[in-house]
Symmetry: C2
Subunit: 221 residues, 2 copies
Amino acid sequence: MTTYDVTARNRILRKSQRAHYDADEVYAIVDAALVCHVGYEIDGQPYAMPTLIARDGDTLLLHGASKSRTLLHAGAGNPICVTVTHTDGIVLARSAFNHSINYRSAMIYGTGRLVADPDEKLNALIRFTEKLLPGRWDDTRPMTAQELKATGVVAVEIDGASAKVRTGMPIDEPEDVGLPYWGGIIPVRQRLGDPVADSHVPADMPVPAYLLDYVARSRGE
Amino acid sequence: MTTYDVTARNRILRKSQRAHYDADEVYAIVDAALVCHVGYEIDGQPYAMPTLIARDGDTLLLHGASKSRTLLHAGAGNPICVTVTHTDGIVLARSAFNHSINYRSAMIYGTGRLVADPDEKLNALIRFTEKLLPGRWDDTRPMTAQELKATGVVAVEIDGASAKVRTGMPIDEPEDVGLPYWGGIIPVRQRLGDPVADSHVPADMPVPAYLLDYVARSRGE
């Protein structure tokens, strides 16, 4: 298992008991997310840009229009930070001060390169499609050479990361726990709804089984 | 209604039909979120840092430990980007190329200042607590002077912003719509679960009505 060196860049300074520096934890957080935020700076202006994320082993994948400013900047090897965050609960303590949220976040540092090799690019786009819906790639009209050319992919080599995770109940001051305020959590869950067909789907075409399975699994059914 | 000037910084370059430059749209996206990502750079390293967000009129609010590196950097007036993103659906087109997600995102540019005035700080902390759960502030043990001192608040003056929103069904190539692949969306919803009391809540203490109301409203009940 890969463990990241702890440096000034990735060290969790606050609530360090919530810190994790192993790749397994970071990857689990990344794999559970569709969207990440890419931190970068151009001409003195920082950006936190939302975009889809996928992963191939130890490489993070970003994609977009091949001329996208974000992709060109990230693909040129400039330093970036890729962050994924899940909100898992609202934590209600007796004191306003100890209110919090439960969350899982991963911050990953690295540099990217634009993927030029068509096979490597195609493999990345398979990962993105399969991330949206496992089983989908084989049930779509394949990419044309022109579509492949219009799509940019950046592969991000990870050179440091950390995860920060809060779970569980509020942590009240000992002298507060007897106060007459309700304490506990409100779980926050991301949930898939029932699929909605568009107007081009024939009346006799069933919703694909892999799709229904995925929705059911996401609901813990 | 405030409309932001469109400049090189906030102009949506890709899928510009999804762009919005009015404060109402930006604020609606911010207000629906607990967490934002703050983009900033220190010593050549960009960061996209997740943190809670609140709003007071035209001012964004960030908070954390008063000595937090992020807060001190943002509070010193360095340029930052505050981004909020909601994932609303998985969009399944006939072609892999036209797959997408439905989303609402807002990117806000500005500079922050550390809030020193105790009343202004207290007001900000009320906003954060009420953001977690409307009605909560009046049902907690109030902040002590020491807790107030330990908490840092940064007020961010907005000097530009944009929102980008995708809704609705896949947009397939006209020649693809008759292909034998299912097309449509899988809705993605953030949903509050049933509240879970911690071990200090007496057996005869009911869950507060404002809490149950909030959970019910979040589910559209």
